[in-house]
């Protein structure tokens, strides 16, 4: 919903209420039908007999997606549910969704991921531990500090360019940070390395 549309919401709501005051408004596919169709849909997704390109993402299908989440949430924890969630997640990611004013696809994906991770071998705790382990590189605190201060690297190098005498410990520290960050933010490191190389190759500065 754009900002312009938001300004028109209250008049539109008034118009809607006036038009619907004594009529029965169809609320879309019923829960029961959506759950029934979701069971068939999930089986087809897992079997690979339906592909995202074949599906028109209309209101009925969106109900089926939501019902699929309820279906998945009711399944027992374990590898099979994990795999089903993964298949469903990949399918929904690949869907072509043109109009999604309330970000329903994102929410469906988020819920599918939660159910899947809960069902992962070892459970959610194992997943969180594995993610936390990416921070452990010998000195976890040092690695975290370098990553969190990555956006200050450019300023650090600019400060060096303003110095007439460059101290070796500072150069060594800056280069060490560049190496550490090279796999984490390579594009930033690439430009920073060029600046650092220019600085070190400059003839009008003394090092040490």
């Amino acid at each position: 919903m754009s900002t312009e549309q938001e300004h028109e919401v209250v008049p539109a709501i008034r118009e809607w209420l006036a038009a619907t005051s004594d009529v029965e408004i169809p609320p879309g596919m019923s829960r029961e039908e959506a759950r029934w169709r979701a069971r068939e849909f999930l089986a087809a997704v897992v079997a690979g007999t339906v592909v995202p390109d074949q599906v028109e993402v209309d209101d009925d299908f969106t109900d089926i997606l939501w019902a699929s989440i309820e279906e998945l949430n009711g399944k027992p924890l374990g590898r099979q549910t994990f795999d089903e969630c993964d298949c469903f997640y990949q399918f929904v990611v690949a869907l072509s969704v043109e109009n999604d004013p309330f970000d329903e696809r994102d929410e469906v994906l988020h819920r599918a991921a939660r159910i899947g991770w809960r069902s992962a071998p070892g459970g959610l705790e194992a997943v969180l531990e594995a993610r936390a382990a990416t921070w452990k590189h010998g000195d976890e605190r040092r690695h975290r500090e370098v990553c969190e201060s990555a956006d200050q690297l450019t300023e650090r190098i600019e400060a060096l360019t303003r110095q007439q005498v460059l101290e070796l410990p500072e150069i060594r520290e800056t280069c060490a940070r560049l190496v550490k960050l090279s796999n984490i933010c390579p594009s930033m490191v690439a430009s920073a390395t060029v600046a650092m190389g220019t600085l070190l190759g400059s003839q009008d500065r003394r090092i040490g």
Binding site: V9, E15, W16, P27, G28, P101
Partner: protein, 109 residues
């Protein structure tokens, strides 16, 4: 009640605002579609009175639908407990979990 025949201009409202909010009340809060429809209509009535121009209408409507849906479920759970107490005094424990959300109920089982 008459069946709704939407004018073209209201068709957009129905698909862009009404149905997504009905789905939110249905699938997030475990309501049937008919209750969800009523919740959304109630939210619209409140919006006419309370929604400020220039505010984040989408967020306001979502939040209001969430509150109304939660209230409706709590009301239903209270009614079920009262009925159990008055009609079947020995079966009160069966409805003790009626006000739990589906996720909490599943974890407790």
């Amino acid at each position: 009640m008459r069946q709704l025949r939407l004018a073209a201009e209201l068709e957009g409202f129905y698909r862009q605002l009404f149905l997504p909010l009905v789905r939110r009340a249905t699938w997030r809060h475990g309501l049937c579609k008919e209750d969800a429809r009523d919740v959304v209509q109630d939210a619209f009535v409140l919006a006419v009175v309370k929604l400020r121009a220039g505010g984040n209408a989408r967020a306001w409507l979502m939040s209001t639908v969430d509150h109304l849906a939660t209230n409706l479920r709590r009301k239903g759970a209270r009614r079920a407990r009262l009925e159990a107490r008055w009609l079947n005094p020995m079966d009160e424990s069966e409805v003790a979990g009626a006000d739990m959300d589906p996720e909490a109920r599943r974890r407790s089982e």
